[in-house]
Amino acid sequence: MKTHKLFECPSHTWLMFGRDDEKPEAIIDTNQYMVVTKNNSLLMDPGGIELFSAMLAAVIKQVPANKITHLFASHQDPDIISSLGLWDQALPSATLHSPWLWESFIRHFGMNNINYSAIPDEGNTLKLDGVSLEFIPAHYLHSSGNFNVYDPEAKILMSGDIGAAMEPVDAPLFVEDFDEHAKKMRMFHQRWMPSNEAKNDWVRRVRKLDVEMMCPQHGRIFKGDDVKRFLDWFENLEVGVLNKG
């Protein structure tokens, strides 16, 4: 599991974990993100059960265990949060922020100790040591209850499955040639994203945000103009299409 620092300022740091060359072949490679503030941390889409040991080991190199106070699951998928049962044993006093829609489903992953903070459909804001992290609605992209995390100060949008691409584990961290990269995203978005209406509404809202980096849960990070290129590409893409890639 590799760790990259994406952003740093006096109040907080953004870290990305991923490109795990030790993960079993058959599971999809995922990017995990963490915001570290003075006394707290928010671990976003902490990943599957298969990844838990590698993730905890990577995280504990950055912060002590008792500083991982908050978890976020953008939606209910196993690659997002099937590790919950183990985080529940490791961090019994942590809070999990996740869509209200999925609470009774996500609890199936095993949650005896962690506190579930249900995000309402319209989203809300988490304040960690004065740092604002906004949970932005991204419903039906792809999950019917789904959120992104936006940090207006770092100008980072953690976009979950939006912007995802299936890539080899040694792929570069950032998008280098957008048109080349778009080929790898096409099938994923057409097949997994069910609603053009939801997609276009999301594009309209995200255009109003100041986004310097868009960080998906699979594949590469979009930087600067590539964020805008992605929004244009996504807007023009017809989704909810049954294809085999």
Partner: protein
Amino acid sequence: MTDLSQNYFVSVAEIAAKLDQATTIAQKLSLTASNARAVALRAGERAAGFRPLTDFIDRLAEITISSSKKINQMAATLSQTSAEKVRADGAIKHFNSVYKIANESPYIDSLDEVYERCKSEQDRLEKTYRRQIEQLSEELETLSSELRNAVILATLSRVEASQAGSQYQDALINVADNVEGAAGKIKNHIKYSQQMVSTLEEY
């Protein structure tokens, strides 16, 4: 006899299933008792000695049903405990590998508190698990000894049946056979369960 499972919480579920079958057999035994009572009534004076035996058959059926239910409940609780134990064992295994991967981490000590807490939870579950197995084992033993009475009951039933006259003899001997057969089947289930429990004790 099917092979004993290697996985302990599957074994627990199998015990519950076996005892469920025992309950079904005991319910049939209870039917046998009321049939026997009807036959004995028709046989009149000559089967007077048989009538109190039907009460004993009834009592045996009742004890078996209530004890099977109790064992079933115990197996369900044990199954819950063993599932929790599997989770705790799994977590400990994961933490051990984190210690290995992240041993040079500046915050590795912060894991000690987490580890200690999970370890003591694991110990608690281990103790609960042992205690529950012991209770289950005792209850199985109790039911097993109750069933020993079934053999005596069947023998006495045969003796009384021979006094009842040729018209009713076959029906009453049939009752005795049923009691013996049912008790034998239940005993086999219990024996199997006891073997399962003894494999659980090895964990």
